[in-house]
């Protein structure tokens, strides 16, 4: 194990100032030094947002360090609050390293440009699956480094997949109150310069507690009561509201920014076309994908189903390097989109937008179905690489923000408990979803609107616009 000085190790961090690792946390240093973690330095946290917010150059690596730090804060709060409860303090002590490892490694499965790539191929639709594969892969050394300090890699995987029997341990890493979003909101806010994302982390982290899952079976025999991570009902309500407002504003201003999503649509359309060409060309590469790194070519040909080793060779740089070569592509579409992306050129010389954004303001499913039926049914006129549907309701990248607020008519009880929960901290008390207590949450749940956009390449934009009008969706 790495030699860690007695005073521990300190990292400077632009969000949290100093991140401390204790003397006996040398294993975390070893994990930080693995290839899957170091690769995250070359993957931007916010995909293509840097094309809109020039400061948004921060990496998945710095975010992962932040999540490690916040998870440590949460564990400390719980340890202090339940210091007299032997069972809980024992559980926290026993699982501390498992939770910290899960927090640090939670994003290693991200493909280039972060969430953008999850929309390209089904094989990459869920970065968490790749995270688990990399985590457990013995060739990459993580299981061995964990085993040396008595941590079972399967337990780390269980926490990440929400399959650990102690649910509150999963909640620390992945829930509406997790270390992940507590870090990314502050970090994304700082680097984009959008201050709406700020909230009081210290207050939130200091007022976390545990409560009984409202839907848990408590038959006393087969299933033990399930404990969840909650906010203290007396001190946490306003902090929860502040956190949710911060997320709402960041979602609308940054994550679902109209122009950012246009660049993402352009990138996806470019890669869809490149993938189609790579399959057509087979082993006989022609002039349509010049200068493509072999590992990217394999990624495109196999619709993302590549080995862990090859996956680790893909980062944001691999894709932009390929685009540099594709500027000279014999395929006009590929050449045009590569140049537009690299030069951040939204318009052609004649002033036409490369991609048009068409907002669908009406959401009638019958009309929408007619539109989709027409677009998907006429692949010759509207090939898949010329348009991209962007629905905020389909957008799970930031963990279903809107869906946590949806309220079903006439609902008296929670159908699911994926939202923030409040409790008095007593382990026998049943936790309550925060929307049952907060006027603000109820109002947002009842009034939040879906955003649906179609991004269309200039060669099909006019026809698609006509269809949108014809089907009464604008």
């Amino acid at each position: 194990m790495s030699e860690t000085p007695k005073r521990g190790i300190v990292f400077r961090d632009p969000v949290h100032n100093l991140i401390h690792l204790d003397e006996d946390d040398g294993f975390l240093l070893e994990l930080i030094d693995t290839l899957p973690m170091q690769r995250l330095r070359r993957i931007r946290q916010l995909g293509v947002s840097w094309l809109t917010y020039h400061g948004a150059e921060h990496s998945r690596f710095s975010h992962s360090m932040g999540v490690l730090h916040v998870a440590g804060k949460i564990l400390s709060t719980l340890k202090k609050r339940y210091r007299e409860n032997e069972e809980v303090s024992g559980l926290l002590e026993k699982n501390r390293r498992t939770v910290l490892a899960a927090a640090l490694l939670h994003d290693i499965g991200h493909a280039p440009f972060s969430h953008a790539m999850e929309r390209l191929f089904k094989a990459n639709a869920d970065h968490e699956k790749r995270t688990i594969s990399l985590l457990k892969n013995p060739e990459l050394g993580i299981p061995e480094k964990l085993a040396k300090v008595g941590v079972d890699v399967e337990e780390v995987a269980s926490v990440l997949q929400k399959l650990h029997s102690r649910r509150f341990l999963c909640d620390i890493v992945s829930s509406q109150l997790d270390a992940d979003r507590m870090d990314y909101l502050l970090r994304d806010s700082l680097f984009t310069g959008v201050e709406y994302g700020q909230y009081d982390l210290d207050w939130v982290a200091a007022h976390l507690c545990l409560g009984k899952e409202p839907l848990s079976r408590d038959d006393g025999e087969q299933n033990e009561p399930v404990l969840r991570l909650c906010l203290d009902e007396k001190r946490g309500l306003y902090a929860a509201e502040q956190l949710i407002i911060a997320r709402y504003h960041m979602t609308m201003q940054v994550y679902f920014h109209r122009t950012t999503r246009m660049w993402e649509a352009l990138l996806l359309c470019l890669l869809k076309k490149a993938a189609s060409v790579s399959v057509e060309a087979g082993d006989l590469l022609d002039d349509r994908l010049p200068g493509t790194p072999p590992v990217l070519l394999e990624f495109l040909k196999t619709s993302g189903a590549i080995s862990d080793r090859d996956f680790l060779r893909l980062d944001d740089g691999t894709l932009t390097t390929a685009m540099e070569g594709w500027r000279e592509s014999g395929d006009q579409f590929i050449a045009e989109l590569s140049a537009a992306f690299l030069e951040r050129r939204k318009k052609l010389p004649d002033g036409t937008r490369v991609f048009e954004c068409i907002e669908l303001t009406k959401k009638d499913p019958v009309d929408f179905g007619r539109l989709m039926g027409t677009l998907e049914g006429a692949t010759k006129d509207f090939p898949a690489w010329k348009w991209e549907l962007d629905e905020i309701s389909k957008w799970a990248s930031y963990k279903d923000f809107f869906h946590t607020l949806k309220k079903t008519k006439g609902k008296e009880n929670a159908e699911n408990t994926t939202s923030i929960m409040l409790s008095d901290g007593n382990l026998d008390s049943i936790a309550e979803p925060v929307e049952f207590r907060s006027f603000l949450f109820k109002s947002m749940a009842e009034n939040s609107e879906d955003v649906v956009r179609l991004y269309a390449h200039h060669t099909v934009a006019a026809e698609i616009n006509s269809l949108v009008l014809k089907f009464n969706l604008a």
Partner: protein, 171 residues
Amino acid sequence: MHYSIILPLLIQELGQIEGRKKFQKIVHILQCAGAPFDERFEFAQFGPFSSTLKAEIDHLDVFEILSEEQRVNTYVFSSGKRLPELRQAGLLSESPAWSGFAKGLNGKSASELEALSTTLFLLERGYQGEALDTKFEELKAHLLEFYENAKEQGLAILQNRGKWQPLQAAV
């Protein structure tokens, strides 16, 4: 396939689904078996759950494509008043390849489906053999009576993905 087509298609084929849990589990199992549902599922208190699917069902209910009716102890889903409009527009195919398989699922109880859906979720995440047995018991001790059958069916579903072989009857 877009949810505004495939969810009405599912209801058209099944007539009705009794219970929100059953709806969630049927879609999850169909997705594992190869039907073109796009929702992302996470593990929740009652097994695999998709908040996206819940929002989609709510949306279709608001527009009266589906109907969600509250009855004693359950919610029943059926065709909404406007579902025929989708059919008239030629957007609902007569009978998808997975129709019979879905009907087989709808004939099972919510607990059986929760056991099968949980088993599939674990199998897809690499659990097998003893590790699968242990994890299932850890998470769903109250459903152990359905486990052996769920394991057999889950393995068969993943092996025959997209072939739509009928599920064997529950033991």
